[in-house]
Subunit: 201 residues, 4 copies
DNA sequence: AATGAATGAGGCTTCATTCAT
DNA sequence: CATGAATGAAGCCTCATTCAT
C-alpha cells in the first residue's frame, strides 16, 4: 500500500502555502514551480491535487467564501444591538479572517477581472451572492438601528451599508499592503466608532 | 524629412490607451500586442517609446502620481474650512481623477507587490512620499478642524487621516469594479457626510 | 517594413517539411522542435503559421484532400472506357500523389483514430465525404463497365469498388513503408490488370 | 503464502487488454494508467510484468508474430489445390486472426516506424523474416497454381504474391477501421474470387 | 505482490523583445 | 520611423517510471 495521504487536507495545505505567494506577488507572477518549492514537493505533484494552476485560485476563493459565509452567519445569529454588534463582533471577525485567509479581498478582486474564471460562472455568482448577502446583513443592522433610534441619520440603509463595506474593504486592503493601520483591529474599531458617531458630534 | 513625433506626448498616449486594458484585465494578462492594437500601431513600435513592457506601468504610475500631486496641491491652496474643503473639493477632485486616470489605485497597488519595480526604488519612494504627503495633508485638515472646534472628536489626526484615505480608496475601487456606489460623487459625498457627522448624532 | 513573407506559402512549406517526419515517425513521436529544426526556423515561429501542433496535421489532411479531390475530378471528366480509364489514369494519378503528398493514407488514417480531431467534425466529414465520392466514382465505372459488357463479373458495384479502393490503399501503404512493390506504378498496373481481368472473364 | 501468479500468462492478459486501446487510439495516445484501468490493476503493477511501456508493444508484436506464424504453418501443411486453399483456408485464418489479435498490421506497422524498437533489432528481423516467409508461401502457391495450369496468368509469382498480401492487408485494415467491408470474410472471399479469376482466365 | 503518491524529463505554447526590411 | 516576422526563454502541464508502504 502506498503512502496514505489525506488528499483534501493536502490540497488545502498547498492552497494555503500558495496564498502567501499569490497575495504578495500576484497570481501571474507566481509560478507553479515556486508554489511546489515552498510546499517542498515536486512541480508535477501539484497536479495530483489541482487540475491546473487556476484551480488553486478557485480553492482559495472557496476558502475565503466559506470563512466569510460562516462569519456572516455567526454575526447574524447574535441578537445584540447594532451599536454593539457592528464594532465588537465585526472587528473581531474581520481581524480573525485577515490572519486566517490573508488576501481575501485580493482573491475576490480577481473574480472581477476580465478573463478570470471564464469557466467558473458558478463561482462568480457565489461571490456575488455572498457579497449581496453581506450588504443585506449590514443594511438590516442599519435599518434596525434606525428603527431603534440608535442611528437616526441613516437615510438609505442599503446605500450606507455599501459604503460601510467598501470602506472596511479599503482599510483591510491597505493594512494587508503593509500600510496603515498597523493594528487592523484598532483601526477598524476606530473607524466604526467615527462612522457611527461622527467626527463632529 | 522624417515625421516629427512628440515622443513624450506619444508615450503618454500609448500609456493612457494601455491603462484601460491593464486596469480591467491586469498587467500580466495584457499583452504588448493588445496594447499596440488599441493604439493602432504595430507591436514593435511600442518599443520606440518604451524600453520594455514594465516601463508602460511606470509611465502610468508617474501619471497617477502627477495627477494626484497636482490635486493635492490645488486642495492645499484653498483656505476654506475643512468641513467644506473635504467634502466639496475632495469629492470633485476624486471624481475627476477617476474619469481621467481610471485605475489609479490599481497602479499604486502594483508598486507594492513584491517582484515589481525591482529596479525602481526611486519610483517606490516617490509613491511612498506622495502617500505620506497625502496623509499629512488630510491630517492637517483634521487637526485644523479640531483646533477650530469643528471636529472635536478627532483624537489622532494622522491615524484618522489614514482611515479616511483608506476608506475613500475602498469606495473608489469598488466603484471602479462596477459595484456600488454607482454614482461615485454621490457616494463619496454621503460617506464624508457620515464620517464627519456620524450616523447616530 | 519587415521581411515580406508569403504566409500561406510558408505554411505549406512547413507542413510539407513536417509531412516527411510525421509519415516516418508518427505524429506523436514528432516534436514541434524537430519540425522547426528541419525547417531551419525557431520553435516558436511554427506558431506564427499554425495555431497548434494538430493544426499542422489538419493542413496536411487538407492538402491530401485537395489533391485527391482534384484527381477524382480529373478522372471523372474523362469519358474513356473504364477498362482504360481505371488502369491508365488511376495509376498515373496515384503515383503522382504518392510522390507529391507522401503519406496520404497515413493522414487519413489518423482521422479514424479515436481522440483525433475532436474539434474537427467538419474535416472528418470532408474526409468521409471524399471517401464516399471516391467509392461512388469507382462504383460508377464498374457499373458502366458491366453495362457495356466489359465487366460482366461485377455483381455489386459498390462492394467491388470498396474492395478495389481498399486494395489500392494497402498496396500504396506498403510501398510507402518501404516494402514491395518497389515500383508503385508498375505494381498498381499489374494489380489492376489482374483484378480487372478477373472481373471481365 | 503469496498469491501464485502465472507471470507469462498475466503478461499476455495485460497485453491483450491493452491491444484494443492501442489499436483504437494509437500507442502514444494510450497511457499506462488507462491500460492498468481496463485491466483492473494499479498503474504501478503494470511494471511488475513489463519493463516499460514499449515492452507491451513488443509483447503484442510477438503475439501477432506467433499467431501469424502458426497460421502460415497450418496453411502450408494443407495439400489442397491453391484455388481452394487460398480462398477457403486463408479467409478463415485471416478472419479468425482479425477477431483474435485485432490490429495485427497496426502493430507491425509500428515496427517499421523510425524511432521504434531502436534496441529490438532481433524483433525487427523476426518481423521481416515472417513477412518474407509469408510472401514466399503465397508465391509458392501461385507458382504451384501456375504449374498446375490453374493460374496461367501468373507472371512473377513473388511480385503477385506481394500484391495479394498488400491488398488483403488493405482490406483488413479498412474493415478494422470500421469501413467497408462490414463482413470481412465475405469481402475477402469476394476479393480473392475476383483476383484469382483474373489470374486464371 | 500490489498500490498509488511522488518525481521530473520533456512536450506544447505564449509572448516580450529584437531586427531586417 | 514603422513594421511584423523571427526568436527563445520560460511557463503550464502530461505521463512514464520509481518506490515507500
Amino acid at each position: 500500500m502506498p503512502k496514505i495521504v489525506d488528499k483534501p487536507k493536502r490540497r488545502r495545505e498547498i492552497a494555503v502555502a500558495a496564498m502567501d505567494l499569490i497575495s504578495k506577488k500576484g497570481f501571474e507572477r507566481t509560478s507553479v514551480r515556486e508554489i511546489a518549492e515552498v510546499c517542498g514537493i515536486a512541480k508535477g505533484s501539484v497536479y495530483d491535487y489541482f487540475a491546473n494552476k487556476e484551480d488553486i485560485l478557485i480553492e482559495l476563493v472557496n476558502l475565503a467564501l466559506e470563512t466569510w459565509q460562516a462569519a456572516i452567519l455567526r454575526l447574524k445569529q447574535k441578537s445584540a444591538s447594532p451599536a454593539i454588534l457592528i464594532p465588537e463582533l465585526l472587528v473581531e471577525t474581520i481581524e480573525q479572517m485577515a490572519s486566517e485567509i490573508g488576501g481575501l479581498f485580493v482573491f475576490f478582486g480577481y473574480a472581477r477581472q476580465e478573463g478570470s474564471y471564464a469557466q467558473h460562472a458558478e463561482l462568480f455568482s457565489a461571490i456575488t451572492a455572498l457579497s449581496n448577502e453581506t450588504s443585506r446583513t449590514f443594511a438590516e443592522w442599519l435599518e434596525r438601528g434606525r428603527h431603534d433610534g440608535i442611528f437616526p441619520n441613516v437615510s438609505d440603509p442599503a446605500a450606507d451599508a455599501a459604503l460601510l463595506i467598501s470602506a472596511i474593504d479599503g482599510i483591510s486592503l491597505r493594512h494587508r499592503n503593509g500600510l496603515e493601520p498597523r493594528d487592523l483591529a484598532k483601526g477598524l474599531r476606530r473607524f466604526l466608532d467615527v462612522f457611527l458617531k461622527g467626527l463632529s458630534a
